[in-house]
Symmetry: C2
Subunit: 314 residues, 2 copies
């Protein structure tokens, strides 16, 4: 038996909601995932989450706090979900209070990329660092920043939106009217579409399914010149946004996670070389660029930890 207080970590996604029991840096139990689109808006889904937590507590009575990692804008201070990417019906939901009331446990809601950054800082690749840029590469680019040993949430918990930062002041118009947003260049869908075009140019027809990042990673590892050039372009664009983070925040470490990070050397190689080539000495010498320690469980680990800390339990 562990003597640590346990936390509930909720990994909220557009496809599924995963609820796990967290002990330090490990998810020690997980309930069957809830299918997000099957629920008609927030209240029934919150009911189901509360029911799931109740079941988990029967087996794990040491559960003492609930943390939810949400894919979108949350107001950490007030426990509100402003709105979620790809999940309708979640505008202005007081998720923290709803969970607290239904489960009678202290709860917190946090942006999922912030939760991932927190997990990597407390238990993972960035342990012991004070100034951290963490990001997840997937459908979009999520970011979490730590400066002076504190998560940077900003005025309304909206900080860390790396995917909305611009890499071209005259670029494509993005979700908020913003020009050149990184998400619109290196999100999963953009990469797949770009690869499909590049293959077509080289005389090869590929379905969009065969142009997903996982396929492109394999192809690049086998020396496929089209796939390699896609990853080089990816690295060029991502490095611009990360250079901006470096010049603004002078981090000790950049931690890269999310499905696309599995591309490995074909991504990290050109990415690190772009960064090194464009950073002044002071920034360069003290910077490490590393893959995340945790995978999909990072959001659960981080949000559970934040909830336990805020409740004064760890």
């Amino acid at each position: 038996m562990s003597s640590n207080p346990l936390g509930i970590g909720i990994d909220f996604g557009g496809t599924s909601v995963k609820v796990g029991v967290v002990d330090g840096y490990q998810v020690i139990a997980q309930a069957p995932p809830l299918a997000t689109p099957e629920f008609d808006g927030a209240p029934p889904l919150i009911d189901a989450i509360a029911g799931t937590i109740s079941c988990l507590r029967e087996k794990h009575p040491a559960i003492a706090a609930i943390g939810a990692g949400m894919p979108g804008f949350v107001d950490f201070e007030h426990g509100l979900v402003h709105g979620l990417t790809n999940v309708p019906g979640w505008e202005g939901i007081a998720l923290r209070d709803e969970l607290q009331q239904r489960c009678n446990l202290p709860a917190q809601v946090e942006n999922d990329a912030n939760a991932m950054a927190y997990a990597e800082w407390k238990f993972g690749a960035a342990a012991g660092c004070h100034h951290i840029v963490a990001l997840t590469l997937g459908t979009g680019v999520g970011g979490g920043l730590i400066a002076n040993d504190r998560l940077v949430r900003g005025a309304r918990s909206a900080a860390g939106e790396l995917g909305q930062t611009s890499i071209d002041y005259r670029g494509r118009k993005g979700a908020y009217g913003n020009l050149g947003a990184l998400d619109d260049y290196i999100g999963n869908n953009e990469i797949a579409a770009e690869a499909q075009q590049a293959y077509a140019k080289s005389g090869e027809h590929r379905s969009i399914e065969d142009c997903q990042p996982a396929m492109l990673s394999k192809a690049a590892a086998n020396g496929d010149p089209v796939a390699l050039s896609i990853w080089r372009g990816f690295a060029e664009k991502l490095s611009c946004a990360l250079l901006n983070c470096c010049y603004l925040l002078n981090p000790e470490i950049i931690v890269i996670g999310g499905g696309v990070a599995k591309a490995g050397a074909v991504l990290f190689g050109p990415l690190e070389s772009h960064l090194r080539d464009q950073l002044g000495d002071v920034f360069n010498k003290h910077l490490r660029v590393v893959p995340a320690r945790f995978g999909n469980e990072a959001g659960m680990l981080g949000s559970a930890r934040i909830a336990l800390e805020e409740a004064g339990l760890v």
Copy 2:
């Protein structure tokens, strides 16, 4: 007589070094400026600064700490000057210790834009805010960031280099090999050169002196279409870098100072409209964009304050 402990604030520039006696938000006395280029490297200039401080202390015995605001990379923690923009001979100078030994007072060295941000936060336009982006527009663009009520210095005190952030991932190559650095688009010299070209295109020859930002501000205020378009372009490029700060840090306030900020409405109008048009609601609603309260004295005020605080005197 004031009962506050007084600080020395040093405003170190490529043309002159100004040494002032600081009481809270006021410079209550100033020594005659030292002509930077007349000194052969760091040691004689440090001697002259120490001599100046010694004179000021005779009249102001309450002086209790020395803060130096430096135009370049400094290591705050170790009190080192790594190197200064436009001032040769200042690589690897232990300025803090040199000042402490010669003056027998606690001293600190800080980046000048950080010092400006600190002054605006403690006494100026950003008083009471917790998340601040401050910048100075001049020969280059300097930045100072405050998150969670603390100056963001980063791993090696190099944070806040807004002028080195990129607005175009395929842009011009800058000082550190970095592509699209803001400084290379809206520094004083770049603006003047751009204006000269634009006037030439419209059939008017203007000397580079007549294309300086101050002249362009006057011309724009009088409705000169070329000058107006230069400021619109300036606002477009600057807004890109500031949008990146907003999406990364979610600040409550952006404080803009430096000589170029005197352009006033011809700059602030289009700048604010670019920002508002490209920010998501959560970011937009809680953001103010304001001119700095302090002018050239900001560096002295901020660096003196930091030195007094670090010494535990305020």
